[in-house]
Amino acid sequence: MTGFATDLFANFWVSLAAKLALVATMIPLIGMVIGFAEMKLSAKMQSRIGPYFAGGRWGWAQLIADGVKFFQKEDLIPEDADRPVFKSAPILVLVGTVALFVVIPFGPGLIFRDLSVGIFYALAISSISTIGVLMAGWSSANKYSLMGGLRAAGQLIAYELPLVLAVVGSVIMAGTLSMSGIVEAQIAAGYPFVILQVVGFAIFMIAALAELTRIPFDMPIAESELVMGYLTEYSGFRFLFFFLAEFANMFTMSAIAVTLFLGGYWLPGIPESVLVFAGPVILIGKVAILSFVMIWFRWTFPRFREDQLQTLAWKWLIPIALANIVITAIFKVLF
């Protein structure tokens, strides 16, 4: 970089603006790519063609057309709705998503901000979205929305615990909470932590699916019972915000799982000098695999029942995650 550019980016506000602009372009892009993948893959799994006409070949422009359509739609707000809460709910959900990008390491030194409490920050900030979902459910003044919001709250509280506890195993192995520190610990160890933390990884992925309220955990927006749950009354760009947040959250949750368990931006045998450039590609490749698995699950499994969901979290995942922590800690002390 030239001297001027270095000076410019050394300025806190300039670099902050540049980072914000980058995330602001990344989220719609990620939303479109994963959204399109979901449409095409679900079509493939159900022997359909899926989007076909928009943009010519394979209907690649379908999501762009959808986005434009959402912006043209009227911003409907129900008569009895609590207007300020109704309006700010989708923004809060999207803020929770944007804030997660801060601590994802895309390569050696390629991170928006390497917080020393990295993974803990990620878990804390993702709970902001829960408040947004509850606000959306309540403020719509609609029984389906309220039921959806309540189900979402019950589910997100229940699965936040296994999510947090599953992370602890990797943190104990790495000896740090910093996201890039965890990747570096895996590079130093020479293997991704999933080899010793299979249980942690499995629990994390199950809890992540539930946190994303995706099938088989999509009771909060179960179409056959609740119309669209807490999203029922939303239209236009406010609905688009929820839609983008869902797909961007798929990316961030997968990226956190990749960082904690699958070696992040690192692949065995690739030297540090190459990783600087190849890191983001490797990370996004691994994220794509996990996102594919999530989409695959969605079109394979039926929906859980509400009591089955709670039983799974409280009676199985949390005790197993606690046992995993104890065993990991014992091994850490012994070896």
Binding site: V117, I131, L146, L150
Partner: protein, 183 residues
């Protein structure tokens, strides 16, 4: 340090702004005419408090506040409110007649704590190195020097947990128990 010298530092503008947001939302929590609004304003107040902790370089405490209070306590508050009674719009029944004593009490607590900290520290800056307080240090002191208080607190929490399960459990009458056994 005079007030004009204090206010000329840009970092203090942010402190003032966040502090005012916390104060205003805290005031609105008690005066709000809608119970859900009050809970949401409490979120704003807690988020501002977390911001103040961040400005004091207490990173870990700030995120604990977000994870535990905003992510769990307020979500449970909202859950409880919505599952029982949560109309949109104004709810006049929320207002309490007794305002003077609580107001005096909160002002009194504030004065006491402000006087106490000014008396103890005055203008000396405590631990003002500018570096965030490391999480390792917190962990080590919790499991080292403060391990007994730490374990006592977890014991109290365990007792509370068992107590709440006992309270929430439905006690069966002898007849119901007999029937339950037969089924």
């Amino acid at each position: 340090m005079t007030f004009s010298a204090w206010i000329s530092e840009p970092i203090n503008w942010i402190f003032l702004l966040v502090g005012l947001v916390v104060l205003a939302s805290g005031f609105r929590v008690v005066t709000a005419k809608n119970v859900v609004h009050a809970a949401l304003l409490l979120v704003a107040a807690l988020a501002g408090t977390a911001g103040l902790f961040l400005m004091l370089a207490a990173e870990f405490v700030a995120w604990v506040l977000v994870l535990v209070y905003i992510g769990a306590v307020i979500v449970l508050f909202l859950f409880g409110i919505m599952i029982t009674r949560a109309p949109t719009g104004q709810d006049e029944g929320l207002d309490s007649e007794k305002k003077v004593v609580p107001a005096l009490l909160s002002v009194g607590v504030f004065v006491l704590m402000a006087w106490g900290s000014i008396d103890a520290f005055g203008t000396t800056l405590v631990g003002a190195t500018g570096d965030p307080i490391s999480t390792e240090l917190i962990g080590e002191s919790l499991l080292g020097r403060f391990v007994i208080p730490f374990e006592v607190v977890s014991f109290v929490l365990l007792a509370a947990l068992i107590g709440s399960i006992t309270l929430a459990r439905k006690d069966l009458t002898p007849i119901e128990e007999e029937e339950g056994r037969r089924v």
